[in-house]
C-alpha cells in the first residue's frame, strides 16, 4: 500500500441522499451479509454430511423464529445483490449511464428484489400450510 495522502471513502456526508447512493450502499451491505450467510450454507452441508442428529440441530436453528427472520433477511439480500449485480454487469458493459436510466434501474433493483423475496416466501408459506 502506497503511503500517500489521498481522499478515502466513505464521504457520505458530502452528498445529498439519492437512490443511486442507496443502491450502492445496499450492494455492499448485502454483500457483507451474504458472506456471513455462506457460512450458514457451509454449516448446513457439514450437518447434512455429519448425520441425522447434527442435521437436526441445523434445521432446529433454521426453523426457529430467529432463524426464520435471518432467512428472510438473507433471501432479500440474495435477491437484491443478484438484481443489482446484474445491473452493475450491464453498466460494466457501458450501458445505462444516462441519469434517468441510472435512477430507474436503481429503483428496479430494489422493487424487483422485494417482489422476488415476497414470491419465494409466499411459496414457502403456502407449501408449509399444504404439507
Amino acid at each position: 500500500m502506497a503511503d500517500t495522502r489521498r481522499p478515502l471513502s466513505p464521504h457520505l456526508s458530502v452528498y445529498k441522499w439519492q437512490v443511486q447512493m442507496v443502491t450502492s450502499i445496499l450492494h455492499r451491505a448485502t454483500g457483507i451479509a451474504l458472506s456471513v450467510g455462506l457460512l450458514l450454507i457451509a454449516w448446513g452441508l457439514l450437518a447434512l454430511a455429519g448425520g441425522e442428529e447434527r442435521f437436526g440441530h441445523f434445521t432446529a436453528f433454521v426453523g426457529s423464529p430467529v432463524g426464520i427472520i435471518l432467512l428472510i433477511g438473507w433471501s432479500w439480500a440474495l435477491f437484491y445483490h443478484l438484481c443489482n449485480g446484474i445491473r452493475h454487469l450491464v453498466q460494466d458493459g457501458g450501458y445505462g449511464y444516462e441519469i434517468v436510466q441510472f435512477v430507474r434501474s436503481s429503483w428496479a433493483s430494489i422493487i424487483v428484489s422485494l417482489l422476488l423475496t415476497a414470491a419465494v416466501w409466499a411459496y414457502v408459506l403456502t407449501l408449509g400450510a399444504a404439507a
Binding site: 454483500g31 457483507i32 458472506s35 450454507i41 457451509a42 452441508l45 447434512l48 437436526g56 414457502v124
Partner: protein
C-alpha cells in the same frame, strides 16, 4: 490501435515510484467472472433450497447426492466464497484505515473462506460418495 502511444503505464507511477501492485485488473475481472457464474448458480441454489425445504434427512441427502446437484453445489461454494473474499477485500480496503487492522482482516477473511470452502466441498463429497 496505432493512434495509442507505445507506453501504457501511467506516468504517475514513475513519478512517485509508488505505483499499484498491478493486480487490480485481475481482481476486477475475476470479480465479474464469478459474478456472472453466481447469477446462474445463485438462482439454481434457491431452487434447490426450496426443494430441500420440506424433505426429511434421507430425502435431503439423496437430493444433494445426485451427481449434477453435487457438482453444482461444489461450484457454488467455491465461486461464492471466492466472490465474497474479493468483495470483502474492497470493503476492508475502503473503510479500515489502520494498517495492522486492515492486514489482519484481509488475512482473516481469506483463512475463514478457504477453511469454509474446503469443509463445504468435503461435506458434499462425503454425501455424494455415500461416506
Amino acid at each position: 490501435m496505432s493512434a495509442y502511444p507505445k507506453e501504457y503505464r501511467n506516468p504517475l507511477k514513475k513519478a512517485r515510484g509508488l505505483g499499484s501492485a498491478q493486480h487490480g485488473v485481475s481482481h476486477w475481472w475475476v470479480q465479474r467472472v464469478t459474478a456472472v457464474a453466481l447469477v446462474g448458480l445463485g438462482i439454481w441454489l434457491v431452487a434447490l433450497v426450496l426443494r430441500v425445504l420440506h424433505a426429511d434427512y434421507a430425502a435431503a441427502r439423496e437430493l444433494v447426492a445426485r451427481p449434477w446437484n453435487a457438482v453444482l453445489l461444489i461450484a457454488f461454494v467455491v465461486t461464492a466464497f471466492w466472490h465474497a473474499v474479493l468483495g470483502l477485500q474492497v470493503v476492508i480496503e475502503d473503510y479500515v484505515h489502520t494498517r495492522w487492522k486492515e492486514a489482519t482482516l484481509l488475512m482473516a477473511i481469506k483463512f475463514i473462506a478457504v477453511l469454509a470452502t474446503l469443509a463445504g466441498v468435503l461435506a458434499v463429497l462425503r454425501i455424494a460418495l455415500g461416506a
